[in-house]
């Protein structure tokens, strides 16, 4: 456990709870395998010493703010998570004054599963370009992390280079395994629709049939709904029980939004999202 960061977070949490500025602090605590971390809600002072922070704190806690809209909460936020805060602010889902952001300048989180903790950094951390959160009220500092300059989309380029038939077959196999548990939707800060299109009866877009035909429609449109909004925390891929490489989908659209509209999600909370506007003279491949 990173003692230095953990201590700063605990002190900050205790201060906030004692002064009553927030109703609760959303952070991490040791999981039941004694090895990795899991989200933790501290409402009383005693709870604050369960708060920890280390390289297994992978969850994006910003999602939980959507359930606590009525109360002022504090939330521990890694740099990549902070992008989601800007997303939700931009989409009027949370109010800035209702959130106290405890930023953490983290040195990257590792691949984890229950009772498994590897040493290799997660892919998103290997190409991380954010030294510290883009927005925070308090920053738990630590020695500056080394600049990671990994190439951004090697896997996407490789997939794009494949012949179209083998891409087709690859995605058939992946979508064929999806059991529609919707964990990818439930863990994503960008998914907050009261009734998801996949569960609506009228119009009936997606049937309940857990099979390739419906799965493909569900995964394709879920990814499209995150175009220009996904902030790359990649928690969906980590939560997927069926090992479906969802980051290959999300980051493909992240690359497309960069190339088509030079837009990256979450950098600010004011910028107009790409599908809210247009430029008259852009051709985007459809000639006049």
């Amino acid at each position: 456990m990173n003692l230095e960061l953990t201590q700063q977070i605990r002190d900050q949490a205790r201060g906030l709870l004692k002064s009553g500025t927030v109703k609760g602090v959303i952070g991490y605590e040791r999981a039941s395998d004694g090895l990795t971390a899991r989200p933790f809600f501290a409402y009383e002072l005693t709870g604050t010493d369960q708060l920890i922070f280390d390289e297994t704190c992978s969850h994006n806690l910003v999602k939980y703010l959507l359930d606590k809209k009525g109360e002022k909460m504090a939330v521990v936020v890694k740099p990549c998570d902070s992008l989601a805060i800007n997303l939700l602010l931009n989409e009027e889902q949370i109010k800035r004054e209702m959130v106290f952001i405890i930023g953490v300048s983290c040195t990257g989180v590792v691949e984890t599963a229950w009772n498994q903790k590897s040493q290799t950094l997660q892919a998103r951390c290997q190409t991380c370009r954010l030294p510290k959160p883009v927005v925070y009220d308090f920053l738990a500092e630590q020695e500056p992390i080394r600049r990671l300059e990994g190439e951004l989309y090697p896997d996407i380029l490789e997939m794009e280079a494949k012949p179209i038939a083998s891409r087709r077959e690859f995605w058939h196999e992946q979508f064929g395994r999806c059991i529609r548990c919707y964990a990818c939707r439930q863990i994503c800060p960008g998914c907050y629709c009261p009734e998801c299109f996949a569960e609506q009866l009228s119009p009936l877009w997606v049937g309940i049939r857990i099979a390739l035909g419906e799965n493909e429609l569900w995964q394709t449109n879920r990814t499209l709904h995150l175009a220009g909004r996904c902030t790359g925390c990649n928690e969906c891929e980590r939560a997927c029980p069926m090992d479906i490489p969802l980051s290959l989908l999300n980051r493909k659209l992240e690359k497309e939004m960069e190339e088509l509209f030079s837009f990256r999600a979450g950098l600010t909370s004011e910028e107009q999202p790409p599908f809210a506007t247009f430029r008259k003279e852009e051709k985007l491949g459809f000639e006049e």
Binding site: E91, P194, P203, F275, A276
Partner: protein, 1116 residues
């Protein structure tokens, strides 16, 4: 909504005669439809849109309780409305109906019967599964604004406007030209009845002009239209006429005095019209307009903004006194600047691009001399309207110009001059042979006569003293009168004189003793003046020593030339190092050779001495003229100075660091030309006026003066620029008589006539003087007016292709190759030739006239590919008319297909033309050339299949018709469609010829396609009828196809609000605090952009809901 929810669908398949049944197996489709779910009955009939067809539906609704109807027939754009009314008449909500387009999209576009039938089945099944979700909708009632906008004042627009206004509805008729009438008013006679066009049109025009319900907005353009049927918001830009339409009586006095002429567009350049003009005598509104195209390049280039085109135009009319008044509006120094100005105006004169610029400076001088010769009467002093006294220190050009402007605004102005006489460097700097003191005195005394008090021999040293004397503002214009030192050894030995002191001595009459040889150091005007004065004082040898080369010499080039003619030598690339002397008397000067290096800050190349290249010139005197400096001691200490010793002032307001104290001229800029000094003087006058009236000094300054672009130059005959006569060399020695002798009257007028009148109206304001109605206002600006209207009629008409575009047919090459409208204007009694048809080249009646048809018509490359419909008829008319007027003429008509397009007695008219002896020759012409003085039209005779070659005196090209310019921009603003050639598209070519797809917008006349007068009138009337139908009740049913938000699904992300083009979506806070989107039904147009943007699918577009579209996709 009927009681039970289950759907009972009736399907009706139309044969449409053989249109559908010919290709689609209607019985198979009917049987297929019968088998589909919820389909109670499926029938087919030959003509569903006919009464028996409609009754089929009505009966089924009544008897079988059908609550959903599908009609598979033609395009919904055609009969959706019809069948909706049928459902409504049978008691079924009109929106529980759906059409399947199995004609335009199916039977008409495939030959394969089997495929067409399969496609029809698919389209029918899609419509059936879609109609299942068609809920009943109620139309919304929208109030209508009963006014109408008619765009375009041609015959079609006039007809529509009159019809609508006669039924007491207000019409805004917007016409782009100064008068309505369009092309028709330009015609002489109209076919086939040969009525005089004006006789049948002018009555209608005057009706429009005086109609209580028509607001004529002439010389105006529609810039933007928003809103929808019944509630359009129109922005109309009223172009500045510079004549008040209500006051002008049309008397025409102004036109008589206007000095400027420009080719008349109305007469297609066969005649000219004045800058203030009326397109034609019977114009409606019968008022004048002034053609102003901004600042002429000469006026824009002048630092003081002198209106050169203004006074030149008056000179060209011999009105020399009025011309001088124009100049005196800006400054008093006609004579001074006429002689010594550096004339930047001539550099930008557009005439320079044809041959040579106009001699603007010399013309300025001519006016002053003319008045002086005739004896100037005393100027009437200006009435004092202001108390604040203003003090001007220094009576140079800057000071006097400032005083001149202030006194004319009623300020009491006193000029303090240290020297014995006023004028500054004008008197003491510039020698008499260039600028006689008499001229300076005359123009300064003119300023004094206006009321400016000039106190000479009074040196002002202390500013507070001036303020104590009650002066409220001070202008320091003390110039830069101190000559710059050379800082070389021996500079102050006897015999070394400074140029300014030297020139001052001479001009104030003192004697100067010079030796035989004199060297003048420097290359500016002062050096040249000093050298020429020295020559005149009898010095044998005068040499200029200048450290750069000729190109860098700052003096006026013409002055340098005159100096060299008078025998002065120039040593280029040499600089003085030491003054040689013997017993304190100058014996010579040692100089060093120079070479030019990199350009310095001023852009001129920096001179570098070449080591060891010294050489001596033995002279008796050395005159130093290397520059002037401000005499700092003479100025109060508390002022802020720059590194150069000039005063620090705010670049825009010219105020010094002391409040109320301004500075300008050489004292700020360092040595500069006279016109720059005058310009700063005028700026200071503006600052002082604002300062005294405590108005913000900076607002709106400096005024941007944009010069006219692309001045037309074709048809301008080149003519040499007038040469300025000069005193021959012999007489110049020993005398200070003026070298340049000035223009006489004839030369001035001839030179002034060369002016191209770039800005057309020269703002000489002669018209204003003669206008009793006081209707002229040269300061008018664009004005955008916003009107609310309920309906719009677009009658923007056509423009005729310019015949000069067809050079291979001689257009624009030979003057005798004219366009048919030019011929029309010649034949018109009110036209340029008073009804006489002549060859423009020699004015003689043409004997043989060749008419060429389809020039740019039916030809994609040059025109619109359409037949322009009217040419064949008017060519026949021309032939008949010519025969009547000039029996001896013979007309040839080279035609591709002589068309009398079905009008009443059109065909008879064509035969009448033939009977009148016109040779109709079916052929295509290759080119028109000239041989032995006559034109010859050669081409291919299609009937006899051999080439022909017709000699002719006059060739008339019947050029094609194209939509007016800017119609596509108007169409985009109106959201109506137009074809690739910009002709506007009707809703349906046959059935809805004057309607557009957008409700409330109608078309008439040539804006749709080339039409003749009878059709334009008919379409104008038809459009009016549709408008009146719309206004027959004060509300209309608006389509209910708008969007609505399902708040249970809305996540409040408000992306929809950002994409909505009509700002129809707002955030709404619910009772439980949740924020959701809410759509304003009256603004929503039903485009559905928000529906596609809404991720949770919370927005439903009624009539095009996701359910309905998905149902179609699922069925296809």
């Amino acid at each position: 909504m009927n009681r039970n929810m289950d759907r009972k669908i009736g399907v009706y398949i139309c044969h449409c005669g053989s249109n559908i049944a010919g290709t689609v197996d209607v019985d198979a489709v009917t049987e297929f439809a019968q088998g589909l779910p919820s389909v109670v009955t499926a029938r087919n009939y030959t003509y569903m849109c006919s009464d028996p067809g409609q009754d089929l539906i009505r009966e089924d609704i009544k008897n079988l309780g059908i609550n959903r109807v599908v009609v598979a027939s033609c395009s919904p754009l055609m009969h959706e409305r019809t069948f909706r009314q049928v459902c409504e008449s049978a008691g079924l909500n009109r929106y529980q109906f759906q059409m399947a387009n199995i004609r335009e999209h199916c039977s008409w576009v495939s030959e394969d019967h089997g495929a067409a039938t399969e496609k029809a089945k698919a389209l029918v099944s899609a419509a059936i599964s879609r109609v299942y979700y068609n809920e009943p909708l109620e139309t919304r009632e929208v109030p209508i604004n009963p006014n109408t906008l008619v765009v375009g004042g041609g015959i079609a627009g006039i007809q529509a406007a009159l019809e609508i206004a006669d039924s007491r509805h207000k019409v805004y008729l917007v016409e782009r030209e100064p008068s309505i009438g369009g092309h028709m008013i330009q015609l002489d006679k109209t076919f086939p009845t040969l009525d005089c066009s004006a006789c049948i049109l002018t009555p209608k025009m005057s009706l429009v002009g005086s109609h209580p319900y028509i607001e004529l907005m002439s010389y105006s353009e529609v810039v933007e239209v928003s809103g929808y049927v019944g509630n359009f918001k129109v922005k109309v830009k009223k172009k500045p006429r510079y004549v008040d339409v209500d006051k002008c009586t049309g008397c025409g006095e102004c036109e008589k005095v206007c000095p400027v002429e420009a080719p008349s567009e109305f007469e297609y350049k066969l005649a000219n019209r004045r800058a203030i003009y009326r397109p034609f005598p019977q114009a409606v509104p019968n008022v004048f307009a002034i053609d102003k195209r901004g600042y002429p390049p000469c006026r824009a280039a002048c630092p003081a903004g002198v209106n050169a085109q203004g006074y030149i135009a008056l000179i060209s009319q011999g009105k020399f006194k009025e011309a001088l008044d124009v100049l005196r509006r800006t400054m008093p120094f006609a004579g001074v600047c006429g002689r010594v100005c550096t004339h930047p105006c001539e550099r930008d004169c557009e005439r320079g691009k044809v041959d040579q610029p106009i001699a603007i400076r010399s013309l300025k001088r001519f006016m002053a001399d003319y008045e002086l010769k005739a004896g100037r009467e005393k100027a009437t002093p200006v009435k004092r309207t202001k108390e604040e006294k203003v003090a001007v220190i220094g009576s140079g050009p800057a000071g006097i110009a400032c005083a001149y402007d202030l006194v004319r605004q009623g300020y009491p102005v006193t000029v303090f001059e240290a020297a014995p006489k006023a004028g500054g460097l004008l008197r003491y700097g510039i020698p008499e042979y260039r600028l006689p003191n008499e001229i300076v005195d005359n123009e300064i005394s003119y300023v004094q006569e206006l009321g400016v008090e000039i106190k000479t021999n009074t040196l002002v040293k202390n500013l507070s003293e001036v303020f104590n004397q009650g002066y409220k503002a001070i202008f320091l214009a003390t110039g830069a009168g101190v000559s710059q030192k050379m800082n070389i050894p021996g500079e102050d030995t006897l015999g070394v004189i400074h140029a300014l002191d030297f020139l001052e001595q001479i001009s104030s009459g003192a004697k100067a003793s010079l030796g035989n040889k004199v060297a003048v150091i420097g290359g500016g005007n002062a050096a040249v003046d000093a050298a020429r004065v020295a020559m005149r004082l009898g010095v044998k040898e005068v040499t200029i020593v200048y450290r750069r080369s000729r190109a860098e010499m700052p003096a006026i080039p013409s002055e340098i030339e005159e100096m060299e003619h008078e025998g002065v030598k120039i040593h280029f690339l040499a600089a003085p190092v030491k003054v040689l002397s013997k017993d304190n008397r100058v014996t010579g000067i040692q100089c060093i050779r120079m070479e030019l290096g990199e350009p310095d800050a001023s852009g001129r190349r920096r001179p570098m001495p070449i080591k060891g290249s010294e050489f001596d010139i033995d002279v008796d005197n050395v005159i130093i003229a290397i520059g002037q400096m401000v005499n700092k001691e003479m100025l109060p200490k508390e002022l802020a100075f720059t590194g150069w010793g000039t005063l620090v002032v705010d670049p825009i307001t010219l105020q010094t660091n002391i409040d109320g104290v301004f500075a300008g001229g050489d004292v700020v800029s360092g040595p500069a030309d006279v016109i720059a000094a005058i310009a700063t003087g005028k700026e200071v006058a503006v600052s002082i006026d604002r300062y005294l009236c405590s108005v913000d000094l900076k607002e709106g300054r400096p005024e941007a003066r944009e010069s006219v672009k692309d001045v037309p130059k074709e048809g301008v005959v080149t003519k040499e620029r007038a040469v300025m006569p000069v005193l021959e060399l012999g007489k110049r020695a020993g005398s200070f008589a003026e070298v340049e002798l000035g223009f006489d009257e004839t030369k001035a007028v001839a030179e002034a006539k060369r002016c191209l009148n770039c800005a057309v109206c020269s703002e000489c304001q002669e018209c204003e003087k003669v206008c009793e109605a006081k209707a002229i206002d040269h300061e008018m600006q664009d004005e955008v007016v916003e009107e609310d209207v309920g309906a719009i009629v677009v009658a923007t008409g056509v423009k005729v292709l310019d015949h000069t575009q067809f050079s291979i047919y001689g257009g624009g090459v030979y003057p005798d190759v004219i366009s048919s409208l030019q011929l029309e204007r010649m034949m018109s009694a009110a036209g340029p030739t008073g009804g006489e048809v002549i060859c423009p080249s020699n004015g003689v009646h043409p004997k043989d006239i060749v008419f060429v048809s389809c020039v740019g018509s039916r030809d994609e490359r040059t025109g619109n590919g359409y037949c322009s419909k009217v040419c064949c008829m008017y060519m026949a008319k021309h032939a008949v008319m010519l025969k009547e007027h000039y029996p001896e003429t013979h007309s040839y008509i080279v035609y591709t297909d002589a068309r009398g397009p079905g009008g009443k007695i059109f065909e008879e008219f064509l035969t009448r033309a033939q009977e009148a002896g016109t040779t109709y020759l079916r052929g295509r012409i290759d080119k028109v050339s000239q041989c032995d003085g006559r034109l010859s039209v050669s081409g291919q005779d299609l009937l006899k299949n051999k080439t022909f070659n017709i000699p002719g005196d006059l060739v008339v090209l019947a050029t094609g018709l194209m939509p007016s310019d800017g119609v596509s921009k108007l169409a985009q603003s109106l959201n109506i469609s137009y074809d690739t050639k910009n002709y506007l598209l009707q809703a349906h070519v046959k059935l809805r010829p004057v309607e557009t797809f957008t409700d409330g917008i109608f078309l008439a006349g040539c804006a749709i396609a080339p039409t003749d007068i009878p059709e334009s009138v008919a379409q104008g009337g038809a459009a009016a009828e549709y408008v009146l139908k719309l206004f027959s009740h004060d509300v209309i049913d608006a389509e209910p196809m708008t969007s609505i938000v399902d708040i249970s699904r809305c996540s409040g992300c408000l992306l929809c609000r950002q994409v909505c083009p009509f700002t129809a979506i707002e955030a709404e806070t619910l009772k439980d605090g949740r924020v959701v989107a809410s759509i304003n039904e009256s603004l929503c147009k039903g485009c559905g952009v928000c529906v596609a943007a809404c991720r949770p699918g919370a927005i439903k577009l009624r009539g095009f809901s996701d359910q309905q579209l998905l149902a179609e996709v699922m069925a296809l």
